[in-house]
């Protein structure tokens, strides 16, 4: 079930709480991003604003996958924290949104040798939401393996700079257009569809 929550919409505060706790588990506990640690166990930063779109895939009351979208015309992670990743220039356009905090639940992951189901789910969710919200371009920064993953699912990512080492591992910033074609590629790759809650 796909939940899309905009800003701090009180109508969906319970789902949002689950999302912030999931983020803490995934990014602080698992990924070790200590700088994000908070005493209350909810991972929220200065880029969670009223303009943020939270994309939350739930199953049986648990978060399966989470993504965050922020407008590039406002301050976002790439522009404020890692501008060095965008040596070819930042993208700041109404149709371009930054995709960040991509996380999948540990219990939903396999050992990497079969279909990485949650990754496909992440891409499906973000694509469906982007198309619905008239977002035509996604900007993201992650390990270069995401270039391969995005390409496999029908995107054509373009790097915004060379990969750099951030907190020990390589990170590259890239942008990619979102079109209906991408959904067809996902269908062909048997990425399950999602239903809006």
């Amino acid at each position: 079930m796909l939940h899309v929550v905009k800003g701090f919409d009180r109508q969906f505060s319970d789902v949002l709480e689950l999302a912030f706790k999931f983020r803490h588990e995934a990014f602080v506990e698992e990924a070790g991003w200590e700088n994000l640690r908070r005493a209350d166990g909810r991972e929220i930063d200065q880029f969670d604003t009223d303009d943020t779109i939270h994309v939350i895939a739930m199953k049986d009351g648990l978060v399966q996958a989470y993504s965050r979208l922020n407008p590039t015309i406002k301050p976002h992670v790439l522009s404020e924290v890692y501008p060095q990743l965008a040596s070819r220039g930042l993208l700041r356009e109404p149709g371009a949104w930054e995709w960040s905090r991509m996380g999948t639940a540990k219990h939903a992951r396999n050992d990497g040798r079969g279909w990485s189901g949650p990754i496909g789910l992440l891409f499906r969710c973000i694509s469906v939401v982007a198309l619905k919200e008239n977002i035509d371009t996604l900007v993201w920064q992650a390990h270069p393996v995401w270039i391969t993953r995005a390409s496999e699912l029908g995107f054509d990512p373009e790097p915004m700079g060379l990969p750099l080492r951030i907190a020990g591992d390589r990170v590259v910033a890239a942008k990619m257009a979102v079109t209906e074609t991408v959904l067809k590629h996902m269908d062909a790759a048997h990425v399950p569809m999602v239903e809006y809650a």
Binding site: S87, R88, G112, R113, G114, W115, S116, I119, G120, H143, P144, V145, I147, T148, R149, S151, E152, L153, D156, E158, P159, G161, L162, P163, L164, R165, D169, R170, V172, A189
Partner: protein, 242 residues
Amino acid sequence: MLEQQAFDTIDKLRCARSLAEVKTVFGAAINDFGANAFIICDIPPGSPAGSKEIHASGWHPEWERRYLNEGYSADDPIPNSVGLKSNPYYWQDVELENVKNERAVKIMNEARSEFQMLGGYCVPIHGLRGVAGLVSVATDSKDWRLSEREDSALHIVSLYAYEAVRKLRIPANAGDGGPKLSRREVDCLQWIAEGKTTWEIGTILGISAHTVSEYISDAARKLGTHSRAHLVARALRQNIIR
């Protein structure tokens, strides 16, 4: 300027319209890094250790022939390390990790002493199914090591080279009602166009020569051709292989 060259190469790879073009562009790009040969392979999911499908090769033909004939793939520590690494690795580092494996040592020594492959760098490709393939480049320079910046540039350029090959291997959709060849049939045709024999194609793709013959017969039947030359010509004309 290294960065600009890397981006120019990536842009060319993203628009490449033939395997020949990919090979030319990537071959030229690796020269800028001091490398002089490369190979782009798939590692099919669930396949036995070491088996790979070669899709673009700039290896010395004699080395390629010996590598395939002797089944070096099974013991070559370079491709066998792909599953263990998420970032590119130097051949020398893997060699050190495999120093007790006699056959691995023999393979690396032969590459070095007979084919001047004094060093190399392998980029693992991990897709949605896990290990997907690799891009490996070789150098005839001694003590070859890239700076962090060069390494990161070659890393990303290699990812796009693999992607370019992958996209080009997807059979062109015969939307005009023409015959639709399977990916395997297209793979076989691609290698015939490069002058490989049925047996060689079988080894390159990790299937039996008999199976290769069947794919070729099926392709010939679908395209209505009666000789290999005619088959290749028709496939090229119809943009089935490029």
